[in-house]
Symmetry: C2
Subunit: 427 residues, 2 copies
Amino acid sequence: MTNAYTELPETELHSLEAALNKEYELVAANKLALDLSRGKPSAEQVALSDAMDTVIDGNFIAADGTDTRNYGGLRGLPEARELGAELLGVPAANVIAGGNSSLFFMHLCAATALRQGLWGDERRWSNDGASKVLTPVPGYDRHFALTAALGVEMVNIPISADGPDMQAARQLAADDPSVKGIWCVPKYSNPTGCTYSDATVHAMAELPNQAAADDFVVLWDNAYAVHELTDQGDQLASIFDAAHHAGSAEHVVQFASTSKITFAGGGLSFVASAEPVLAAIERALSFMMIGPDKVNQLRHARFLRGRLQQHMQAHAEILKPKFAAVQEILHAELGDLQIAEWTNPIGGYFVSLDVLPGLASEVVSMAKAVGLTLTPAGATFPHGDDPQDCNVRIAPTFASLEELRAAMQILTLCVKLASVRKLLNPQ
Amino acid sequence: MTNAYTELPETELHSLEAALNKEYELVAANKLALDLSRGKPSAEQVALSDAMDTVIDGNFIAADGTDTRNYGGLRGLPEARELGAELLGVPAANVIAGGNSSLFFMHLCAATALRQGLWGDERRWSNDGASKVLTPVPGYDRHFALTAALGVEMVNIPISADGPDMQAARQLAADDPSVKGIWCVPKYSNPTGCTYSDATVHAMAELPNQAAADDFVVLWDNAYAVHELTDQGDQLASIFDAAHHAGSAEHVVQFASTSKITFAGGGLSFVASAEPVLAAIERALSFMMIGPDKVNQLRHARFLRGRLQQHMQAHAEILKPKFAAVQEILHAELGDLQIAEWTNPIGGYFVSLDVLPGLASEVVSMAKAVGLTLTPAGATFPHGDDPQDCNVRIAPTFASLEELRAAMQILTLCVKLASVRKLLNPQ
């Protein structure tokens, strides 16, 4: 016997719809205000770093004697660069430590590649007219938004449990010199939670060599580098080592931040690459600032260095029950209905839920109507356009466990109701 | 009787040169390392804000309930916007409070005017091909550098004690639709220290109406809004009020920061304008960040609000003896020699010294050779090109009083020696 909706006779579907409708109306009457839309840490998580505010303790002088209260140092304080090096697994000399937003560095890097070039020579994406980057989907909406804002086209490629489809990436990059880069969230990818396999990392490091463009850039947003939910965690191969081996180090730019380590919005950002790229980014920065906020850099270095893993374990203790609740409710409510599939990541900030094709926006609207805000359907695709209209991103971190459980009950109810309706009225 | 070098007979100039040469060689033997090159606050000044690091005291929640440790709020924390409003003399609703660099906002504003437009319509500087901005000279080197980096041409206009030559500005703007804006440091201007007269402020507010371009922008960098050296200080008329009166509010964008109030590099920045401009800037920001560092915004608001004037008086107490020493030594050493002119500002960070035409780079080189670093000659002009080669910027704030006095003795010695040599060998 199966519970699969797809195999139910129409009469049973009708009575199911009636029951689910009643349940949905009861939820509507509760006038809830729940939100699973954004990957924000909870108040309990940010409070783990409250003590960071006390580490200056009257001593604003960095290890190298720099007075952090004054101007200067575009590449950042040495101990902040060391922190970024630890986070990204690269030498500190290859890191620039910046302000509170790694998205800023990503935008700056792409804008510089487009207009001034990243290598101190004549190469600029804009030289050849229209430029494109590859976007593994589903992916991170802000990557897509900044790319579109720069006037760069996006070409979707599929992503699986091992990472982006590298055969597709290779073919597109090799065939078309206007393909200039690829966006990557290599560990606990947003939203699927997958970590790129070793083979994917090595293939990615070779991609600039295989691309028709000589100014191809792998944009490696390692946003969840240390954001484990288990003791072991996924092991991501070093793109830095792989790129050095492949001779493509100048074509790989890594990003990270402490936004989901210390304070979201009050953290540090990092960009790492080979020297010509760092020099180009430093030059671009010089037109925008005299230097980063070194006081906050000093705070972070003193607070996190030597205890980063311990600190992230404290985050994991808060997050584990939430991610477990998501899996539990998805399994209990949708487990064998054959109307949805979802990921079960061991780190990061998201769970990716695929519903029946054509239903994602319907599910998100239905949830909204009864007080549950979800990430807009399509947000995980460029221009908000999910061609299958099937992907829903679940962000379980910000809500309390109780709210999260209530929200997941509503979400799964909406998935069931929308699915039954579709099965009764296929178009 | 006069001491003017220009009226000395050649024999006296020769013996003067010999004496000055001897003095210069003595200085060279001392192997000094002095620096009057950059407008940095001194360690004593930044220490005035050390207590800002203790005001959070475990309470990260802003007045409106915002948890400053988490994401969001692109326009900044309400109390930080209030602080910016106080600084710029505008309503808080017209202010965006940002990160640590007002230069970032200036770059963003000019880049947005150029590429996406500031008014939510089709107007963009780039629509008409080459664009230009007016640059009152001498002025601030980083304004010029960012303008050049954006590919925007600069057209110099003279600045006097009342501010830029508004007749020249009007004519250039009215005659040429590719003239899209003007850079202003309206109070204690960098480097002359002048404050724009009321007439200049009102003329500036009318300029967008008189310009041939319909997308003209007054870039109003009020970097020294509260940076007085006297109890009274210069009174700058409100460009906000003047622009509202003139109907040009959407064409005036103001900037300020706390870089020279709290921590240089660890402060807050502000941009103020009319709503369409703020919306355009917010949109541009949305591709670069989720929000500013609100923890640091909360620190600033708690530390400065209600005691800004008192705090700036403490700065003034430190700076007054330094600016007095500069005037004293300039007067004593160059007072009636007719080889130099200089400004005597009552606020800001600089004194502007004009030497005989053709001698500025010579003076800066001579000083460098004996261990005194000055702002590079020409830095106060676009592309580093001072057509008269006569302007030297003096930045007295960072050095100790003792170092400053030693440096001013060397600077005036170099001015005298270079002048005598020139008078002996006119080209």
